[in-house]
Subunit: 466 residues, 2 copies
């Protein structure tokens, strides 16, 4: 990996070559906060991008975070709070007074303000909204009324809309002369008198069009649109699939109500991948590095508990074969190998399956082909490891029969792992249960039980025969 | 989750509510291909977005994919090949003649053409390049000369650059009058006579500026830039962090050579998250659903082999305590529970750590705080499960001492899992080894060995005393 060190002077003094914030910056900020030195703090933060202020907040000790904001006062840009972990934001907001929060979100874009306020409890939300001017209050309230994780919550509500009969020149003049336009925009939207969306014109196309042309004559055909109640994840996948930088958002009557911007979508996609990854690792989707110990313990306990139940089932399988183990302790030594190989092979298949479901690459159209492929892979790896481990076990124990037994068990468990690793996530998905969260314990149970049962079962048959 | 069904008419007839391609579409395409019916195929594909054509290709049987392209001939847009899995693309390109490929990439943007050609072997690459007109050949060759996964490989080489002394009007006129400009652009760049980058002006700002102003007077201050040799992942993190839709790319002499666009960056971020997720699940970063059985077997074997070594180490630990197991078979029944709890707790911590390292949220500035937190979490969960499992084991076996032993072992292994789960990825990262790929086997070895050793060790001490 090369580095982005020299990308800007700021990146140089704020972040190291790896993109990590310099410890010295954190130390300076901590000193300034503890000395109550608002001036030094302002010097430090003044030229920083909101994303860097966010990173700095996260790197500080929890107690110092709200103090930084209070010390900076009007010099603190609340947009930085959209760049930090949810837990960090909630903790900070709890420490700030409702007056401070109301003052801070007042000048923000609606989507940023909604993002900051949405996780507060309703009484705080109501109190803060009351402190705002009527116009802002109404806009924020409307944003908060959309369902959680919907496009309506995350969209920019300011957008440029013009009637279809305007000329290119009229549109350009309008953009140039109207003072109250959104900060950033990549498209101009065309709407009818009822504000229903008719089409969209990207800025680069608008700039290169003939002045006299009607604006609707240069609109993009079949332009994508999404509904305010659509799930953010679906909107994100749509924008990613069709390489969109912005997409208009309409209400149930097809009226233009806002626009989703690509930078928000990047964060949504990132969150989704993050959630899947954490879910597969057995931690709650929203677990963050900044969570409290108690919150983390509570979050991880259920998964460990599910694993305990799985392990107890396995133990009861082993218990059934106590007599065989008593007769041949080597079985106890070798049995964890079989279970562990099965568990890992199952996890491999499950990981690929969960990811393919999330990215919509695995569906009815190709499920059978993929299942057959996974079974073949399981069988082949099973054969390879059966030979390898079977030989080793036979040599180690001096009992050739034991090599055959562990080889057979391994082939059974690796094939079962392949089948379970793909069918379990697919079935959960069909039942509308998130496969990333729930597949793990089921797959492990299947591979453990089949692993122990096949190895100890075959061994018992063999022992009883000889 | 709501749906995006009604977003467009195309989405309706091509994809279901979940964003998956309809099986009926795949069937129709398959029928047309097998009947050699180019006309029906053209009807089906004509109005599809390149991303949808890509999805269709992936959903087809491998043999049908190159046949679809040959049947469509000039009506097939090679851009669709940038939207499919690497394996699918490679298989298709192998089946097509170099003439067909040269014809297909000829009219593509340089970045798309580079993306398609970069994985071909050198002799094919050279042969295809030779068939292209000089100008395109040189542009492609330059792209291919940049290191793999660098910004230079993925950047759009067309961009709009103007001198600093031009007025806003001159710049707008230039954009309007020059025929050969890039298809899509969000910024105009300012360069000196040696084409060194001086600044950038976003289109929306340009449109709203006074005609007479000098273009450099409205340039964004401290504009981010990246180098052509920078790693794509770092560029992607930079663009995500600062919410950029495009970022200029410069060479070693700070000359403007291209621009990275956000839609490419979305794909890079997605790939990175994907790689981490797969690596943690023990599959190769580039494993895809469309890989052949043999490729998949080869990819998964090494990880299963690493796991076998781990399991053998655990087995040898168990072997040491054979006498104790012989004396008390209940130990064999319970020992997998301890190891499995440790393995899962270690995976939880490791998952959070790996993700935090990848997103640059865990570094020197906060490592100690996080390590302390994880140890506390491990101890607390250890205590909880020690009480729970200890009681269960005592009741089940009727031997109270066994409950104490398993409780103690569980506390030791869960604390060790927390420490190992965070220190191992951090150490690997410090050694410049990708923690997502390599942490798993190490963490499992630590938790297995400590789990078996502490449980069987304490039990042996206890057995020898009583």
């Amino acid at each position: 990996m090369s580095d982005v060190r020299e990308t800007t002077a700021e990146a140089n003094s704020f972040r190291d070559t790896d993109g990590e914030i310099w410890p010295s910056v954190v130390e300076r900020a901590t000193r300034a906060i503890q000395a109550g030195d608002g001036e030094d703090l302002r010097d430090l933060v003044a030229d920083l991008h909101e994303a860097d202020v966010g990173s700095l907040l996260e790197a500080l000790q929890p107690d110092d975070r709200p103090r930084l904001i209070s010390l900076l006062g009007k010099n603190f840009d609340f947009t930085a709070l959209t760049e930090v972990d949810d837990t960090v934001r909630e903790e900070i907001l709890e420490e700030l007074s409702n007056d401070e929060v109301a003052e801070g979100v007042r000048d923000l874009d609606v989507d940023d303000a909604v993002y900051i306020l949405e996780d507060l409890d309703h009484s705080d939300q109501a109190e803060i909204l009351e402190k705002l001017p009527a116009l802002e209050r109404i806009a924020l309230q409307r944003g908060l009324d959309y369902p959680e994780d919907s496009a309506g919550r995350r969209m920019q509500t300011d957008c440029i809309a013009v009637p279809p009969f305007w000329s290119v020149r009229q549109t350009v003049d309008y953009i140039r002369d109207t003072p109250d336009l959104p900060d950033t925009f990549y498209e101009v939207f065309i709407v009818d008198p009822a504000h229903r969306l008719l089409g969209a014109v990207p800025l680069d196309k608008l700039m290169r069009a003939r002045w006299g042309d009607r604006i609707d004559s240069i609109a993009t055909e079949d332009h994508q649109r999404v509904h305010a109640t659509d799930d953010q994840e679906n909107v994100a996948l749509l924008m990613q699939r069709y390489n969109l930088v912005s997409v208009p958002v309409v209400d149930d009557s097809e009226r233009l109500v806002g626009v989703m911007m690509v930078d928000d979508i990047v964060d949504v996609l990132d969150e989704e991948a993050d959630e899947d990854l954490k879910a597969l690792g057995g931690v709650k989707a929203d677990e963050e590095l900044s969570d409290s110990v108690w919150y983390t313990v509570k979050g991880r306990f259920p998964w460990l508990f599910a694993n305990l139940l799985t392990a107890l089932i396995s133990a009861s399988v082993i218990d059934t074969f106590e007599a065989s183990i008593q007769a041949m302790v080597a079985l106890a030594v070798l049995m964890p190998i079989v279970a562990s190989m099965g568990g890992n092979a199952g996890t491999q298949t499950m990981t690929v399956t969960v990811r393919a479901i999330a990215t919509r690459q695995l569906g009815r159209a190709n499920a059978w082909r993929v299942i057959r492929r996974e079974m073949t892979v399981g069988l082949m790896n099973g054969l390879g490891f059966a030979l390898l481990l079977g030989t080793m076990a036979a040599l180690w124990s001096g009992v050739p029969g034991l090599g055959v037994i562990i080889g057979l068990a391994l082939m059974i468990v690796l094939t079962a792992a392949a089948v379970g690793g793909i069918l379990i996530p697919l079935a959960l998905h069909r039942l509308k249960i998130d496969p990333a969260v729930s597949s793990g314990p089921f797959v492990t149970t299947v591979t453990d039980v089949i692993g122990f049962f096949s190895f100890l079962g075959i061994a018992t048959l063999w022992l009883s025969r000889s």
